[in-house]
């Protein structure tokens, strides 16, 4: 079993080291890193903008590039969080808490160094888990029929909707809205048009890229234009500042290991993004620390643990995405979408049918992470400069990349209308405090869910009890019930708890602090 895995991995490295693949992987990592650093631009906008580029690529380099953008931007996000108190990805919001105070104390370089070492360590562990866990999961998932697939997708959507920040009800509402958007187009079974309003371009359904760029790009600009706090960047960094001392490394070691474990544990759970894991890792460190009162003032553990958990989660996330076809979070949903566009159905068969994609991707992760480590040391000066590019130049340029990116998906201006529509819809939803991520999860999973739902009930002749009588499906349904109960219970408890009470949980503090600090700065 292990020797087989090593042999497969060897094959994967062969694929990943092919010049063409290596080049696109490198390109993805670099672009992701660059965009991750810039405030106001996240992995999602970067990936959606470059998604059209993957149409002309072979699937292997396409996926390697997208994955590279993802973890590259994760590295970049830590830089913005530590140096500017500006997390470009929500997962780094926690890193701000102790990373930014370290910058203020003149130890920003050390914080970055610790963040990078933790990330690399965690990613390596995550990759190892992926190598050994995926084949096991595949062995189990061959027992999956439409019933089981529907149940696990339901679990994924439910977890994604309720475990993000904000009101779980609103998360569920956005998931359902996403499912509705996914239903637009031609019904596969009957061939009739749904929600197409007589527009021929809608008969193929809504364009995933247009939805993603609308809600994550345009909507965000609509709400943040002239409302971004002015950021003064005073960080000066040299390469040698980034090397942590032995004592600091020692301090970071156990938080790093614990953070990695937290990330890996949650990675196996579909639907939970890296944001929640980084909060949990931080809360855990806070709880077991001998000096909990020092958190928020520049603790090394407060940087190492959340960064490690984010990166192990990021890698382990690929397991359910590739082997079951269930994306762990929105970014995975986009990668899944890219695979589907290429005509590759993620699922248990993927490893067997496309070993070059699976093992090549794993090998490219490792190569990419090494590249990031090596790249970020000399490039840190460039990133600090880049942080000084003002938002007022960034967003008009991004607008151009958005419309051009969407145009290239079909060479049709119609998709630009979709971007506009989803930008406005997204801005309205966002202003009403709805989370955006579940929409995309719903859009990607919707058609698959509907298909499996219909098939399962066709096989059971309309008997709904099939979802709880088949053992694997019953297991997922039980977890779904637990999630709903758990969320209701915590909502009920929160309601009883007085507002502003100290026990408002690390979540609240973690969310509120960066925003508050920003405003007091300018």
């Amino acid at each position: 079993m292990i020797s087989q895995a090593l042999q497969d991995l060897w094959f994967g490295f062969g694929v990943a080291f092919q010049g063409h693949n290596l080049m696109w992987s490198f390109f993805g990592v670099l672009v992701g890193n660059l965009i991750g650093v810039m405030p106001g631009m996240g992995a999602l906008s970067a990936m959606s903008m470059l998604l059209p580029l993957t149409y002309v690529l072979h699937p292997v380099p396409a996926i390697m590039m997208l994955a590279g953008i993802f973890y590259g931007s994760m590295y970049g996000g830590a830089i913005g969080a530590i140096l500017l108190n500006l997390p470009s990805h929500a997962a780094h919001a926690v890193t701000c808490l102790d990373g930014y105070p370290m910058t203020r104390a003149g130890k920003g370089g050390t914080a970055l160094g610790i963040a990078m070492i933790s990330s690399f360590f965690a990613a390596t562990v995550g990759i190892l888990i992926m190598i050994f866990a995926s084949p096991l999961l595949v062995a189990i998932s061959f027992k999956f029929g439409p019933t089981e697939l529907f149940s696990i997708m339901l679990l994924g959507l439910l977890a994604g909707a309720t475990m993000s920040r904000g009101s779980p009800l609103k998360g569920v509402a956005m998931t359902l809205f996403g499912l509705l958007c996914g239903a637009v187009g031609t019904d596969v079974n009957s061939g009739s048009f749904r929600f197409s309003f007589g527009i021929p371009q809608l008969s193929d359904g809504l364009e995933l890229v247009a939805i993603a760029l609308g809600v994550f790009g345009v909507a965000d600009f609509l709400l943040s234009v002239n409302r971004m706090p002015v950021i003064k960047n005073t960080a000066k960094l040299r390469m040698r500042d980034m090397r942590p001392s032995m004592a600091e490394l020692k301090e970071a070691f156990w938080p790093m290991v614990r953070g990695t474990s937290v990330g890996a544990l949650f990675g196996a759970m579909p639907g939970t993004g890296p944001t929640i894991t980084s909060f949990i890792a931080y809360a855990l460190e806070h709880k077991i620390s001998k000096t909990p009162e020092k958190f928020g003032t520049g603790m090394i553990a407060g940087v190492a643990a959340p960064e490690a958990s984010t990166h192990s989660k990021t890698q382990v996330d690929f397991i359910p995405t590739l082997s079951l076809g269930i994306p762990g979070d929105v970014v995975m949903a986009l990668i899944l979408g890219a695979l589907l566009i290429q005509g590759i159905q993620p699922g248990p068969q993927l490893i067997g049918e496309h070993p070059d994609i699976f093992w090549g991707l794993i090998a490219s992760f490792w190569i990419g992470n090494v590249l990031l480590m090596v790249l970020n040391v000399p490039l840190i000066g460039v990133w600090v400069k880049l942080l000084q590019v003002p938002y007022r130049y960034l967003f008009p340029s991004a607008m151009f990349f958005i419309v051009i990116g969407v145009f290239t998906t079909q060479n049709d201006l119609f998709q630009t209308w979709e971007v506009l529509a989803f930008g406005v819809i997204g801005a309205v939803f966002m202003a009403l405090d709805f989370p955006m991520a579940p929409i995309l999860l719903g859009v990607v999973l919707g058609p698959m869910m509907e298909e499996n739902f219909r098939r399962a009930l066709l096989l059971s002749r309309g008997d709904m009890s099939v979802f709880v009588t088949r053992p694997i499906s019953a297991g997922f349904m039980a977890v779904c019930a637990l999630v709903v109960l758990g969320v209701s219970w915590s909502a009920w408890r929160a309601q009883r708890r007085k507002r502003g009470a100290k026990a408002a949980a690390a979540l609240d503090v973690a969310l509120g602090l960066p925003a508050l600090e920003l405003r007091s700065d300018d």
Partner: protein, 159 residues
């Protein structure tokens, strides 16, 4: 944010979801619904629409009591009304791109979207917006039209 504003927001949020859900369910009911064993194209969207409407009611009802942490994004923009000039310019920029993309070609369309959305930011001067737009035109021409063979002519007259 003051507590009453949050409550009001959730009433609007819930009402919006009820409207969207019911509209979708109504439209879906117009397609063939079918039975549980043999579902028609309308069944799944109709069920989702009804669920969405129910969740909308739940959001409005829980607005009375529940005050969970607001779902702020990581970008740290202020709460409250968005900036009207900025929004108008961004939307006008996209519309200009659509119009000029159809009737003027890639370069005018590119210039228009970057220039108009840059003017949305109160920090930009006319000169800065012009230079930014010209820079993007250069990228559009070299990278997208020349290198990536974008299927849109640089200039065209009246479609």
């Amino acid at each position: 944010m003051s507590a009453p504003a949050q409550f009001k927001k959730d009433y609007y949020a819930g009402a919006l979801m009820v409207i969207v859900g019911l509209a979708a369910a109504y439209a879906a009911a117009g397609y063939h619904l079918g039975t549980l064993a043999r579902m028609g194209p309308g069944f799944f969207p109709c069920a989702v629409g009804v669920l969405l409407a129910l969740i909308g009611v739940a959001i409005a009802v829980s607005a009375r009591t529940d005050d969970g942490p607001p779902a702020t994004t990581g970008h740290g923009y202020g709460q409250g009304m968005p900036d009207l000039r900025g929004c108008a310019c961004i939307i006008a920029g996209i519309l200009a791109f659509l119009l000029l993309g159809e009737y003027g070609g890639l370069l005018p369309a590119t210039f228009a979207i970057v220039f108009i959305s840059a003017l949305g930011d109160r920090g930009n001067t006319l000169k800065q917006a012009t230079f930014l737009a010209l820079g993007m035109c250069a990228i559009a021409g070299v990278v997208f039209w020349w290198a990536l063979q974008l299927q849109m002519p640089l200039f065209r007259w009246g479609g």
